[in-house]
Symmetry: C2
Subunit: 348 residues, 2 copies
DNA sequence: TGCCCCAAGGTAAACGGTTTCCGTCCACTC
DNA sequence: GAGTGGACGGAAACCGTTTACCTTGGGGCA
């Protein structure tokens, strides 16, 4: 595009092809193609001349034609079922960060793992699009069948998960257990002894990891979660609320609750409010994710922060670099605790 | 130009082509093509037979090959700069709802209108991708230069905005003034007389519309906003907070504040909290957008609900149908007030 | 010199559809 | 029996790249 200020009479762009470049450079279009893709066997002087022409005429090869010849589109898909807008948007941005400068575009593919024709839909999508690659955040990432289909279709992919469930060059690990352990230590140091946990659903690996990490952190202080102080939530506001009602109705109620994510932590806030309990004076609350609400609500929520955008970036980078990318590439991310206002020493 | 080389082309798959279908149907591939695309001049029985075969063998034409022949990709782009994750995600879903069943995919293109090379980037994107269409939510939708570039590239597009700024078949109107007027009436009926407004930035058309609608609503009750009761915010939590501090520090402070969006309304909550004012006893607050936070925070926020996903759906539909779509197609959406807990009669 | 080999680059055929430009066949109608 | 129009075929061109395969020229080496 020209940067000149807007003229009303815009010109029709004389679409320039690889042939034009070749003619002007005095070489065959094959050589131009070589320069564009893989300039290994082209003399430096020839390559420079062609590159100069490409730049001068602002030429870029037609993605559709390339895709046809390559038998592979220049599309990277993000396939996800995570419902959190914050998560989704940040992940998208991260992947796009990694795609910037490449000739790939990001197509999004939300889905519902419970839909009856789930695998058909995704399978068809994968088959048809001949994707350049796919990024799978949780919980789609935990679905081995999807990974299998992608492998089948010869489509590179990267899975983002809290546990190692594929080859290293296809994985970004989020060490969620670490963040959960930090939360546990924080509560233990504050002096809490009666601590409860609202965990996420069985079907999410992350909920296991968060629980595990939390237990590990507590055990460092000789503490442990009693079985009936672990209740199952569904990672939603409503379930968080209900679980909290249940926990706080006990005769000997806990002085601190670790919610499996921020949404449920907000549910705990609501339950506490209704019961006339003050956060953090009567009950300390810790969340997980650090969604924007966490720093908007009163009291500001102590939670575990995951750098979602960075994770997306790593995943995208890993995808673009392929198995033979730099060996030292980072492939894991460690969430950290952010202490705000919702935790305090228990009153005795 | 990094194309992620080193990926060998896909290995051979028993991929079925249009020729196979044609052979099996006993027709020429041209007729199959007719069925796939247009089917106007194909006899019903032939068409049915071909369709059955297509379904049986699960054939779908290669998008890349079609794109090359059509000189147009099967990609619909959503180009946006709106920072609200909730808005983005819902809009994406809405557009995808409309794209379902078509052969189009959704590619996303966030951008920053303040970047120095903004128009270059977008222009290049539009030129290269030969998009099937584009959806422009605010505030990108308000940029005539972008619309011009799209028209130039012969790319259909739909703009979503609160005012009519393009031909009807390229517009989805969000009648935000209506929702704002409802908010005004609600406050007026409660008995508020001293009302303030934290408006959005000058550069957003929506901020004008919301102000205008609010004023219209007030005037029905013989009320009006004094000039210094209208302050400029930036649609962010922080600016909402600062504006509220300013308004609430006045000797004769307002009894109600209409914030231009929910983010700013949360800022008002914070300011009120700091000043020891209770919502809604001391100050009523109304937001706009109905983000999820609005129904998570205490007190639940009275706000104006926009069905973003529906809007996205309409935009996508309009795009797919084109100018010759059904005449009676709905092309406007009216946001409605949702009364919750943050508004009450003023204390005298 | 003769031979081999490699770097550098060319040629033509894919890639998998759509389109153009006729034609043909056939059933109806007048 | 001629005219008409709908349904469909055939061949080739085309879309703009990449790729399989081949040529060419020149240098190293025995």
């Amino acid at each position: 595009m020209d940067t000149g200020q807007g003229r009303p009479g815009a010109r029709r762009k004389p679409k320039i092809t690889i042939n034009d470049i070749a003619r002007m450079a005095g070489v065959s279009k094959k050589t131009v193609s070589r320069v564009i893709n893989d300039a290994t066997t082209v003399k430096a002087s020839t390559r420079d001349k062609i590159k100069a022409l490409i730049k001068e005429y602002d030429f870029s090869p037609d993605p559709q034609a390339r895709a046809l010849a390559f038998r592979r589109s220049f599309l990277v898909a993000m396939i996800y079922d995570n419902p959190s807008p914050q998560y989704i948007v940040n992940m998208q941005r991260g992947i796009l960060d990694a795609l910037a400068g490449s000739s790939c575009q990001l197509v999004i593919r939300p889905c519902d793992r419970n839909a009856p024709d789930f695998y058909d839909m995704i399978g068809e999508f994968i088959e048809q699009q001949r994707l350049f690659g796919a990024v799978l955040p949780p919980s789609v990432s935990e679905d081995d069948h999807i990974a299998e289909m992608l492998k089948e279709a010869d489509c590179p992919y990267v899975r983002i998960a809290s546990v190692e469930l594929d080859e290293p060059h296809r994985m970004i690990r989020t060490r969620e257990a670490h963040g959960a352990a930090e939360a546990a230590r924080h509560l233990a140091r504050l002096g809490h002894r009666r601590i409860a946990h609202i965990r996420g659903p069985e079907s999410f690996r992350s909920s296991h990891e968060r629980l595990r990490g939390f237990q590990d952190g507590l055990s460092e202080f000789g503490l442990h979660l009693k079985d009936d102080d672990i209740v199952f939530g569904g990672y939603t506001y409503e379930t968080g609320y209900e679980c909290a009602r249940q926990l706080l109705a006990k005769p000997e109620r806990p002085t601190a609750i670790f919610a499996g994510n921020d949404e449920m932590a907000l549910g705990v806030y609501k339950a506490a409010r209704e019961l006339g309990l003050s956060v953090p004076a009567d009950i300390s609350v810790v969340g997980f994710d650090d969604t924007p609400i966490a720093s908007r609500i009163a009291p500001y929520l102590t939670t575990v922060h995951s750098p979602i955008r960075d994770i997306g970036y790593l995943a995208g980078k890993l995808l673009m670099d392929g198995p033979k990318g730099p060996k030292g590439a980072m492939t894991s991310i460690t969430p950290e605790l952010v202490v705000r206002e919702s935790t305090a020493a228990p009153a005795f």
